[in-house]
């Protein structure tokens, strides 16, 4: 209960900063050349200024920056993200339609990167400077240096074009009419490539941290105590090293949640996934600033939620946290 309160407090304290940041971005976007109406007019093949002014009034794009900012913030408080001129729907609706794909991608990539990175890191630290360690470190280095979008393309060439094992893109087979378990399996099949390509760089980072952190903890005094107690190597690692070594990993996951969400922009583009990352890209190209700002808001909220969960897990792992120390 205490832990929940502690993490909840951190959650609460991130709201003012979030609002200030969004206000800053809102003002910044006022300086962007060209607005939604310009894009819309271009789409329609030009139009007269009167029509443009009419549209601006409709989309709430007139008045001074200050007035519009206050209006925007007031709407945010009511979770109203505005109206997308391009999709002709409320921004919230547009984003909600795209959210499931991104959530699934993030969740699968994060779990894959975390568990695989942790396992490889442990193996590596156990066989430090042996051939397994060298091999794993080398792989980590390669994963770290590979641009994810390029890896995605190459993976499409190999697994979708040459071998034809996996679908090259999309979230499910359109027109297959699959439902229930078959739909789930179909989606899972579509998510294999995007998940792995998005996760590999994070896997590399987690594996490196886990290895270093295991080695660091192994030098601490209480590990010497454990040896003096006559525990086996396995017992020492399981009961004393592992949990302590996981703490820096948790911190890192919290810090990198945003980076991973950013990475999904390109991955969703490569694999034509209908997620909010691709939506962000499309709204940049189409100057749909309302939608873009909405995505910033939603993705920040997602990052804050991930951090909330990380806080909870961290406090479970480390009793010093819940003591408020």
């Amino acid at each position: 209960m205490h832990i929940l309160k502690l993490a909840g407090r951190r959650l609460l304290s991130s709201i003012p900063t979030l609002l200030i940041l969004l206000a800053g971005l809102f003002i910044l976007l006022q300086f962007a050349p060209g607005d939604t109406v310009d894009a819309l007019m271009a789409q329609m093949g030009g139009g007269d200024p009167a029509q443009a002014a009419e549209l601006r009034r409709f989309y709430g794009l007139e008045g001074s920056t200050a007035v519009r900012l206050l209006d925007y913030l007031w709407r945010l408080v009511r979770l109203d993200l505005g109206f997308s001129a391009i999709y002709n729907k409320p921004v919230a609706t547009v984003i909600l339609e795209r959210l499931p794909a991104t959530l699934m991608l993030m969740l699968s990539a994060l779990s894959f990167a975390f568990f695989a990175g942790m396992l490889l890191g442990i193996v590596s630290a156990q066989r430090v400077n042996g051939w397994a360690d060298t091999l794993i470190s080398l792989l980590g280095l390669l994963f770290y240096a590979t641009p994810s979008f390029w890896l995605g393309l190459m993976s499409i060439v190999v697994f979708s074009i040459w071998l034809a094992w996996l679908p090259p893109g999309g979230l499910y087979e359109i027109g297959s009419g699959a439902t229930g378990i078959w739909l789930v399996l179909d989606i899972a099949r579509h998510l294999i490539q995007p998940t792995i390509t998005l996760a590999l760089i994070f896997l590399a980072i987690y594996l490196r941290i886990m290895r270093a952190s295991m080695l660091e903890v192994s030098t601490l005094d209480f590990v010497r105590t454990a040896r003096a107690k006559g525990l086996t190597r396995g017992e020492i690692v399981r009961r004393h090293v592992l949990r302590n070594a996981l703490l820096p990993m948790m911190t890192l996951i919290g810090l990198q949640a945003g980076t991973m969400l950013g990475g999904s922009v390109v991955i969703e583009s490569v694999f034509s996934l209908p997620g909010i990352g691709r939506l962000a890209y499309e709204s940049v190209v189409q100057r749909d600033l309302n939608t873009l700002l909405g995505i910033v808001f939603v993705s920040a909220v997602m990052v804050i939620c991930v951090n909330f969960v990380v806080d909870l897990i961290y406090a479970r792992l480390d009793p010093r946290m819940s003591a408020g120390a």
């Binding site: 304290s13 209480f222 010497r224 003096a228 107690k229 525990l231 949990r243 480390d318 408020g324």
Partner: protein, 537 residues
């Protein structure tokens, strides 16, 4: 005291442990022989780097791979520990030999409860059922004198005090009733009153169970308290060994003699005549720490580090501020030199309202009081030549570089360093030399008051004696007025004209050193004095 004759439990014969190449000597431990009998406490004494801790690790089979045993045997009954496999060693660690360490804070896993860590000893080596294990762990906690064993069982290390943590360590080491206990400086990190309790506990358990204790320490006071036999080590070699009585009262080897002579006496010298003026006054100084204050109504915890403390320092005198950890003595010192801002109270230095200064005005007056710090390694910037370190205060006050450097060379000579060494880097000096450099840096600004914060605490006893001697010489030569922060009553007795005893942020007693040592008034002062190890000697 006559020790009953038992068969030796452990025989160490001609043990040599190699140091890695490039070290200052080939062996960490050289040709060491030692027998450990049941029912006795053997103290291995030595300064840092003497190889005493390596001996303990070797006995446990815990030497790091970089320090291999080159020759010799460690016979535990019929088995040679040096030649046992890892599996065989594991069966010995815990059931046959228990071990406790210096830092009870870091020696326990912070993420698991005390009870769990004691119970682990049983889980690893026995097949006892859960309930039985818990019952035994609770009984152990009770035996090592922890109040409320049931709640300590469920407590995490950070929820226990330093002394309690060490008791948990002892309970753990004793869980399987080993015949041998190795104690590696188990009281060094503890306050003197806690140290006395832990020493008593170890001796008590040893008497009751008849086990053998190998006790590693650097402190002759502790030796006098606890040892049946003593072995003195220097540079990896045993220089002297014998019964505690013989070694303490009739040392034969010059090194042992020097070490014992370097231990300051608890008997203060007769008071010096001092001038009447007061150079520094602190009135009702308070400093609180607020923790947990936040933007969203987190509860603030206010702790008083210093509570309405008043002291006065006569000109040319040395005032000792003595207390245990958490007594607020260091906070008070840092408030006086204005490294911390006191919440209330006044500080007057040579007629200047030093406590009332702020910003630029404070910076200009900072030369009035200078500080010598505790840690010889952390107190000098590793990237600057020691000459730079001594001159930078002068240069910041507008002295020309060449003049400042000339002054630095004078100061080097004054503190007993080679004036030609000013262009070297700090890491080229030993701990004692670094403290001398810190002293030269503080003296460069010709302060009215010098504050020494545990300035000799991190030094080996022989080096400590030299630095103390230097401080006394300089005090007389330069008519220095000094505030001397220390936890060590022996040091305080020798160097301070007056002392103030602090407990939980308050000055509980102050006066002339000889008076306080002769007739302590406050119960806490009496407790402190009676806890000093080896006071009978």
């Amino acid at each position: 005291m006559s020790v009953p004759v038992f068969a030796p439990l452990v025989r160490i014969e001609d043990l040599s442990i190699a140091l890695p190449r490039g070290a200052d000597r080939p062996f960490a431990v050289e040709k060491l022989s030692l027998t450990l009998n049941a029912g006795e406490i053997v103290c291995v004494v030595g300064e840092s780097g003497s190889g005493k801790s390596m001996t303990a690790s070797a006995l446990m089979g815990l030497l790091p791979p970089s320090l291999p045993v080159r020759s010799g045997r460690i016979m535990l009954g019929e088995r040679d520990i040096v030649r046992l496999s890892e599996d065989e060693l594991r069966a010995i660690r815990g059931p046959e030999i228990g071990m406790i360490f210096q830092e009870p804070m870091t020696a326990l896993n912070p993420l698991r409860t005390a009870g769990d860590q004691i119970a682990e000893m049983f889980r690893a080596h026995t097949d006892l059922p859960r309930a039985e294990i818990e019952a035994r762990a609770l009984k152990l906690l009770d035996e090592v004198g922890i109040p409320e064993p049931a709640s300590a069982y469920r407590a995490y290390p950070h929820e226990l005090s330093g002394g309690q943590r060490q008791r948990v360590m002892i309970a753990m080491a004793l869980a399987l009733e080993p015949k041998i206990l190795i104690a590696d400086e188990p009281t060094t990190a503890l306050d003197v009153t806690i140290q006395a309790q832990i020493l008593e506990l170890i001796r008590d358990i040893q008497r009751r169970t008849g086990m053998a204790v190998l006790f590693i320490t650097h402190d002759f006071g502790v030796v006098a308290e606890i040892a049946d036999r003593v072995m003195v080590m220097q540079h990896g070699k045993v220089v002297e060994s014998g019964s505690a009585q013989a070694v303490l009262h009739d040392p034969q080897h010059p090194y042992t003699k020097a070490l014992i002579a370097a231990v300051p006496s608890l008997m203060p010298p007769p008071p010096r005549a001092l001038p009447d003026q007061t150079i520094a006054t602190v009135r009702e100084l308070s400093k609180t720490y607020r923790t947990g204050g936040g933007w969203f109504g987190r509860k603030q915890r206010v702790t008083y580090a210093v509570k309405s403390a008043s002291i006065s320092l006569p000109s040319q005198a040395t005032l000792g501020i003595v207390g245990e950890s958490g007594s607020g003595k260091s906070t008070l010192a840092r408030c006086i030199v204005r490294l911390l801002d006191p919440d209330s109270g006044a500080i007057e230095l040579g007629g200047v309202d030093f406590g009332g200064l702020a910003g630029e005005a404070l910076r200009r007056q900072r030369h009035l009081v200078q500080m010598v710090f505790q840690d010889p390694h952390a107190s000098l910037n590793p990237r600057r030549s020691v000459g730079d370190l001594v001159t930078q205060g002068l240069i910041a006050r507008g002295t020309k570089r060449a003049d400042a450097m000339a002054r630095a060379k004078e100061l080097f000579a004054l503190v007993g360093l080679d004036p030609a060494a000013t262009d070297r880097l700090p890491h080229e000096f030993s701990g004692g030399q670094r403290q001398r450099i810190g002293l030269a840096r503080a003296l460069a600004l010709e302060p009215k008051v010098l504050v020494a914060d545990e300035a000799v605490s991190a030094l080996d006893v022989s080096v400590q004696a030299q630095v103390l001697k230097l401080l006394v010489e300089l005090r007389d030569k330069l008519s220095l007025s000094m505030i001397f922060i220390t936890h060590d009553l022996r040091v305080a007795a020798q160097i301070c004209d007056r002392i103030a005893i602090m407990q939980r942020g308050e000055v509980v007693e102050h006066g002339i050193t000889a008076d306080i040592f002769a007739a302590p008034k406050h119960p806490y002062t009496r407790k402190l004095l009676s806890a000093v190890p080896g006071r009978a000697n």
